[in-house]
C-alpha cells in the first residue's frame, strides 16, 4: 500500500505547524518550507493521479483497522483530479502572495498567513480524499477555520466579514454533524462506501431524507449556493489579498464535491426521494445563477463583482449535478476545474493591478491593457471563458452541462445557462470597456521598473499558469472527461 495519499496531506500539515517556529529563526524560512512542501505534494498528487488513472481507485487505511471501522482515504479519479487542481492553485497562490508580505524590520509579519494557507490546502485536500464522514467534518472545520483567519487578515472589513462567515459557517458545520449523527444512528457506520451499502440495502426512510436536507444545507452554506450565499461576497472581497485567489477560486468547490459525494455516492439513485432532491438543488442553482449574475452587474468594485459572479458559477456546478445524468455531472466537474482557474485567474489579475496601482475600482482601470498587457490578457481570456466563448474552458463545461440538461429533458436548465451567459457577457464586457476604452487614469506605479517591467516573476508565473490552464482545459477537455467519466458512470447509474 503506497503512502502517497497521506503524504500529500501530511507534508503541508507539518510545514504549517513548523512555519511559525521556523520564521523566528529566519524571516523567510517558514515561508520557504511551506512552499516547498506544497510543491512536493503537488508532485506526489500528479503521481497519484497517474496511478489512479492506470490502476483505478486508491484506498489508504489508517492504523490497520478494518475498513468499515477505521478511517479511510479513498481516492478515485475525480478526487485525484481535484487534488491536483487544489495543489496547483495553492502552489501558485503561495508564490503570488509573496508579493503581499508585510515586512517589519526585516521580519515577515505574515508567516501566520502562510501557516493558514497551508492549513487551508490541507483541509481541502483532506476533504477531497477522505472516505470517512466524520473525518470529512474535521477537514471541513480545518478548511473553514483557516479560511476565517485568512479572511480576517484582510483588514478592518475583512474581520467583520470573517466573523459573520464564522457564525454562518459554524451553523453549517453543526448541521452537517447533525446529519451525520442521524445517518449514524440509522446505520451504525461512518465509512462512506459502507454507508452507501447500508442505505441501498434497506428501505429509505424519512429520517435519511432529513439528514440529507441538513447535509445539503451545510454544504450549500460552505459553497455559497443560493440562497445560502449571504456571507460570501464580502468575505471573498475583503479576504487577505495574497490568498484571495485560493479562497475565491477553490474553497467553494470542495464542499460542492462533497455534496456530490453525498447525493450520488452515498445516497445514490436508489434513494426514494432522489428526484425531489435533485429538483430542489436544480431550482436553487437556477435561482443562484440568475441572482448572482444580476447582482454582479450592479457592482462597481471589481472584487465584489467577481464574488457575486462566483455565486452564479457555483450554480453551474450544482446545476450539472442536478441534471442527474452522467454527462451533466461531468460538465459540473469540468466547470469546477475551469472555473477554479478562471476565478483565481481573475483574482490574480486584480491582485496584480492592486499591487501595481493600488486600486480595485472599475473606474481606475482605464488603459490598463497598455500598462499591464500580460495581466489584462489573462483577464480577458478568463472573462471570455466565463461568458462561455469557445474554445475556452467555460464553453465546454457549459456544453456538457447543457447536454446533460437536454438529455434529462430539463430544457429550463438549458435556458438558464443561455440567460446566464448573456448576463455574464453584460458585466464582463463592461469590464472590457473599462479596461480598453476608459480614459487613462494617472495612478502612481508602485512597482519600480527596476524590479519588474510589469509585475514580479511570481505574479507572472501565476498569471501564465492560469492563462494556459483555461485554454488547455477548453481545447483538451476530452482527456479530462475520459478520466472523469468512468467514475461518474459508476455512481451515476
Amino acid at each position: 500500500m503506497s503512502n502517497i495519499p497521506v503524504l500529500i496531506v501530511l507534508l503541508p500539515l507539518s510545514a504549517a505547524l513548523l512555519c511559525m517556529a521556523l520564521s523566528l529563526i529566519h524571516w523567510r524560512l517558514g515561508r520557504d518550507v511551506v512552499i516547498a512542501s506544497v510543491a512536493a505534494s503537488l508532485v506526489l498528487s500528479v503521481i497519484q493521479l497517474k496511478d489512479v488513472i492506470d490502476h483505478g481507485t486508491v484506498s489508504y487505511v489508517f492504523g490497520k483497522y478494518k475498513i468499515p471501522y477505521g478511517i479511510e482515504f479513498r481516492i478515485d479519479a475525480i478526487s485525484a483530479v481535484i487534488i491536483v487542481m487544489i495543489l496547483i492553485i495553492g502552489f501558485i497562490t503561495l508564490l503570488f502572495s509573496m508579493s503581499f508580505e508585510v515586512r517589519d524590520g526585516g521580519k515577515v509579519k505574515n508567516s501566520g498567513a502562510y501557516t493558514m494557507l497551508a492549513l487551508l490546502i490541507v483541509g481541502m485536500v483532506g476533504m477531497t480524499s477522505t472516505g470517512d464522514m466524520f473525518n470529512l467534518y474535521v477537514f471541513l472545520e480545518i478548511t473553514s477555520l483557516s479560511g476565517y483567519c485568512l479572511i480576517a487578515l484582510g483588514g478592518s472589513r475583512g474581520i467583520v466579514a470573517a466573523f459573520r462567515y464564522m457564525l454562518v459557517g459554524t451553523i453549517a458545520a453543526t448541521f452537517y454533524l447533525l446529519g451525520v449523527g442521524i445517518l449514524y444512528s440509522q446505520t451504525g457506520t461512518l465509512n462512506m462506501e459502507d454507508m452507501h451499502y447500508m442505505l441501498s440495502r434497506g428501505v429509505s426512510t424519512e429520517a435519511q431524507a432529513v439528514a440529507l436536507v441538513f447535509i445539503i444545507a451545510a454544504f450549500g452554506v460552505k459553497m455559497a449556493l443560493f440562497p445560502f450565499n449571504g456571507w460570501q461576497p464580502s468575505a471573498y472581497a475583503h479576504a487577505n489579498a495574497g490568498s484571495r485567489p485560493l479562497i475565491a477560486g477553490v474553497m467553494g468547490k470542495i464542499p460542492a464535491y462533497a455534496m456530490f459525494r453525498y447525493i450520488f455516492c452515498i445516497y445514490g439513485s436508489e434513494f426514494r426521494f432522489m428526484d425531489e432532491f435533485l429538483l430542489i438543488v436544480g431550482i436553487f442553482s437556477c435561482c443562484g445563477i440568475i441572482y448572482g449574475s444580476v447582482r454582479a452587474m450592479a457592482q462597481t468594485d471589481l472584487r465584489k463583482m467577481l464574488a457575486y459572479s462566483s455565486v452564479a458559477q457555483i450554480g453551474y456546478i450544482t446545476l450539472g449535478f442536478a441534471t442527474g445524468s452522467p454527462v451533466g455531472i461531468v460538465g459540473g466537474f469540468l466547470h469546477m476545474l475551469a472555473h477554479a482557474f478562471m476565478k483565481s485567474g481573475l483574482f490574480f489579475g486584480t491582485g496584480a493591478i492592486r499591487q501595481k496601482y493600488g486600486s480595485m475600482k472599475m473606474e481606475d482601470l482605464g488603459y490598463i491593457y497598455k500598462k499591464m498587457p500580460l495581466t489584462s490578457g489573462l483577464m480577458v481570456v478568463a472573462a471570455l471563458s466565463m461568458v462561455g466563448i469557445p474554445p475556452l474552458g467555460g464553453f465546454f463545461s457549459k456544453w456538457y452541462i447543457g447536454m446533460g440538461a437536454a438529455g434529462s429533458h430539463h430544457l429550463v436548465y438549458l435556458f438558464v445557462l443561455v440567460i446566464s451567459s448573456l448576463l455574464n457577457a453584460v458585466y464582463f464586457f463592461k469590464l472590457f470597456e473599462k479596461m480598453f476604452m476608459a480614459r487613462d487614469k494617472e495612478l502612481p506605479d508602485r512597482i519600480p521598473s527596476e524590479v519588474a517591467q510589469e509585475v514580479p516573476w511570481n505574479m507572472v508565473l501565476a498569471i501564465v499558469v492560469c492563462f494556459l490552464a483555461i485554454i488547455l482545459i477548453g481545447v483538451f477537455n476530452v482527456p479530462i472527461v475520459n478520466v472523469l467519466m468512468p467514475t461518474v458512470m459508476e455512481v451515476g447509474s
Binding site: 457549459k398 443561455v418 451567459s421 464586457f429 472527461v481
Partner: protein
C-alpha cells in the same frame, strides 16, 4: 515534409486557419515594437499565403475529393474537423482573396487617416479572417460554432475601434444581438446533438423530417437559423449593422463584404441545407417563414436606403437588403435558389466592397460623408466614381455584371417554385437599388453645378485606388464569364447538386 503536405490536401484548411491565427497573435504581440511596415508585411505574407492555400484547394474540391481531416476530439464524441466542400470553398475563396485587397486598402486608409490603435486593428482583422476560414471548412456544427463565436468576439474590437461613446454604444448593440443569437444557436446545437447524436454536416441534411413534432421542430429550426439571421442582418434583427458604421471604412468593408454578414448568410446555408436539409426545412414550415422575413427585409431596407443621406448608411441598408437575397434564395429551397444564393455571396462581396472602398476613398480624400455634399465630386475623383457607378449598376443586376449572374439564378429559382412574390421582390429590389444608388452617381457627375472644392483632380492614394480598380474589374469579368479564375460558379453549382441530388437540378 513538403511532399507530405502537398499530398495531403486535407491538412491545408488547418494550415489556413492556424497561419492566420498565428499572424494575428504575432501582430498583436509584436505590433507596437516593430515598425509599421514590418507589421503590415506580416499581414500581407499571411494574406497571400492564406490565399495560396485556399486556391490550391480549388482543383481538389472541383474533383469532388473527400478531404475530411479531424485533429482531435474537441468534445466527447465530436471532432475538431475540417472538410472543404464546394459551398465552403466559395465563401473561403471570396474572403481570402478579398483579405489581400482589403489589407492593401487598409494600409492606405489607416495611414491616410492617421488612425490610432492600428496594431489592434490588424490583429483583430486577421483573427476575423482566421475564424472565417475555420467556419468555411468546418465539417461539423460544433467546429462551425466555435469559429462562429470567435468571429463574433474578434469583430467587437473592430466595431469599437474609435473607443468613444458612440463606438461603445454600437459595440454594445452589436454584442447584444450577436451574443444572444449565438447562445440560442448553442442551445439549438446542444438539443440537436442530444436528439440525433451527430453534428456532422451532410449535403441535404441529416435531420429527418419527423425528428420532432411540428412546433418543436420549428422552434429548433429558428433557434439555429436565428444566429445566421442576426449576423446576416435580416429584419427585425438588423439594427446592429447600421450602428456598426461608426467604425473605420475598411472595417465596414470587412463587415459587409468579406466576413461577418456573409458568415451569417453562410450559417443560414449550412443550417438549412446541411443540417436540416430541404425536406425537414419544408416539413416544419421554417423555410417559408424565413422567406417571408427575407422578403420583408428586402422591401423595407430598400425604402430606408432611399432616405439615407449618409453614404455609408445608405450602403449599409443596401447590404441588409442584398444579404436577404441570399437568405431568400436559401429559403425557397430550390436548386436554382441555392446556387444563386451561394453565388450571390461572391457577387455581393465584390460589388459591395467596391462601393464601400469608394465611399472610404472619398471620405479620406475630401472628408465628405454625406451624399448631398458630394456634388460634382466626379470631377475630382473620376476613377473612383466610375468604379462606383459600375458597382452600382451591378448591384441593380444589369447584364454583363456579376450581379446579373446570381440574380438570374435567384429569379429562376423563384420561378421554379412558382412564387410570384419572390420573383417580384427580386425584380422590384433591382429597380429600388438603381433608385438609391444612381442618385449618388448623378450627384457626383453633375455638370451644371460646378463645385469649387472639386475642381482639381486628386484621386485617393495608390494603395486605396488599386483595390478599387481590381474589384471593379472582377465585377465585370465575373459578369461576363462567371466561371473565370477560381471556378466559383462551378463550385456553387456542384454544391447545388450535392444538396438536391442530381435529379431535377437542370443546370
Amino acid at each position: 515534409m513538403m511532399n507530405w503536405f502537398l499530398e495531403n490536401p486535407g491538412l491545408r484548411p488547418v494550415m489556413a486557419v492556424f497561419v492566420t491565427m498565428a499572424a494575428s497573435g504575432l501582430i498583436f504581440v509584436m505590433g507596437d515594437h516593430v515598425r509599421q511596415n514590418v507589421r503590415e508585411a506580416i499581414t500581407f505574407i499571411a494574406a497571400i499565403f492564406n490565399c495560396a492555400i485556399v486556391i490550391s484547394l480549388v482543383p481538389h474540391v472541383l474533383a469532388g475529393e473527400n478531404m475530411r481531416v479531424s485533429l482531435f476530439q474537441i468534445a466527447e464524441g465530436v471532432d475538431l474537423s475540417f472538410s472543404p466542400d464546394a459551398a465552403g470553398m466559395v465563401f473561403a475563396c471570396v474572403s481570402s482573396t478579398l483579405w489581400i485587397l482589403t489589407s492593401l486598402y487598409s494600409v492606405g486608409y489607416m495611414r491616410g487617416h492617421h488612425e490610432k490603435h492600428q496594431t489592434g486593428y490588424y490583429a483583430a482583422f486577421a483573427m476575423c479572417i482566421s475564424a472565417v476560414m475555420g467556419l468555411c471548412f468546418a465539417s461539423n456544427l460544433l467546429t462551425f460554432f466555435i469559429f462562429f463565436e470567435i468571429l463574433t468576439v474578434a469583430t467587437y474590437p473592430l466595431v469599437v475601434h474609435y473607443r468613444d461613446e458612440e463606438g461603445r454604444r454600437s459595440g454594445r448593440k452589436y454584442l447584444a444581438y450577436t451574443l444572444i443569437s449565438g447562445q440560442l444557436f448553442f442551445a439549438g446545437i446542444v438539443i440537436l446533438y442530444v436528439l440525433t447524436g451527430t453534428l456532422e454536416f451532410k449535403a441535404g441534411g441529416f435531420v429527418s423530417p419527423d425528428l420532432l413534432p411540428g412546433p418543436a421542430m420549428l422552434t429548433l429550426f429558428f433557434l439555429m437559423v436565428g444566429a445566421g439571421m442576426v449576423k446576416a442582418g435580416v429584419m427585425p434583427f438588423h439594427s446592429w449593422l447600421p450602428a456598426a458604421m461608426v467604425a473605420p471604412t475598411p472595417v465596414s468593408a470587412l463587415l459587409h463584404a468579406v466576413a461577418v454578414v456573409k458568415a451569417g448568410a453562410f450559417a443560414t446555408i449550412r443550417v438549412v441545407f446541411f443540417v436540416f436539409g430541404p425536406d425537414a426545412a419544408r416539413a416544419c414550415g421554417g423555410a417559408e417563414i424565413l422567406s417571408y422575413f427575407a422578403v420583408a427585409t428586402i422591401w423595407i431596407s430598400s425604402f430606408i436606403a432611399l432616405r439615407k443621406d449618409n453614404l455609408k448608411a445608405r450602403l449599409a441598408f443596401s447590404t441588409i437588403g442584398q444579404l436577404s437575397y441570399i437568405v431568400l434564395g436559401v429559403s425557397m429551397l430550390s436548386p436554382f435558389g441555392a446556387v444563386g444564393g451561394l453565388y450571390h455571396i461572391v457577387a455581393h462581396a465584390f460589388m459591395k466592397i467596391t462601393l464601400f472602398m469608394c465611399a472610404g476613398a472619398v471620405y479620406v480624400t475630401t472628408g465628405k460623408k454625406n451624399i448631398s455634399e458630394m456634388v460634382g465630386i466626379g470631377r475630382r475623383m473620376p476613377v473612383t466614381m466610375t468604379c462606383f457607378t459600375i458597382a452600382s449598376v451591378a448591384v441593380a443586376g444589369f447584364p454583363l455584371f456579376v450581379g446579373f449572374v446570381s440574380k438570374g439564378n435567384l429569379v429562376m429559382g423563384a420561378v421554379s417554385v412558382q412564387s410570384p412574390l419572390y420573383a417580384a421582390t427580386y425584380i422590384a429590389s433591382g429597380v429600388l437599388a438603381l433608385a438609391y444608388l444612381l442618385p449618388v452617381v448623378f450627384t457626383a457627375f453633375k455638370r451644371d453645378v460646378i463645385n469649387m472644392e472639386f475642381q482639381e483632380r486628386g484621386e485617393a492614394s495608390l494603395p486605396m485606388l488599386v483595390p478599387i480598380v481590381v474589384t471593379t474589374a472582377v465585377v465585370f469579368i465575373l459578369g461576363v464569364a462567371p466561371d473565370a479564375g477560381l471556378h466559383l460558379y462551378s463550385m456553387a453549382v456542384s454544391a447545388g447538386h450535392q444538396i438536391f441530388g442530381t435529379i431535377g437540378v437542370g443546370i
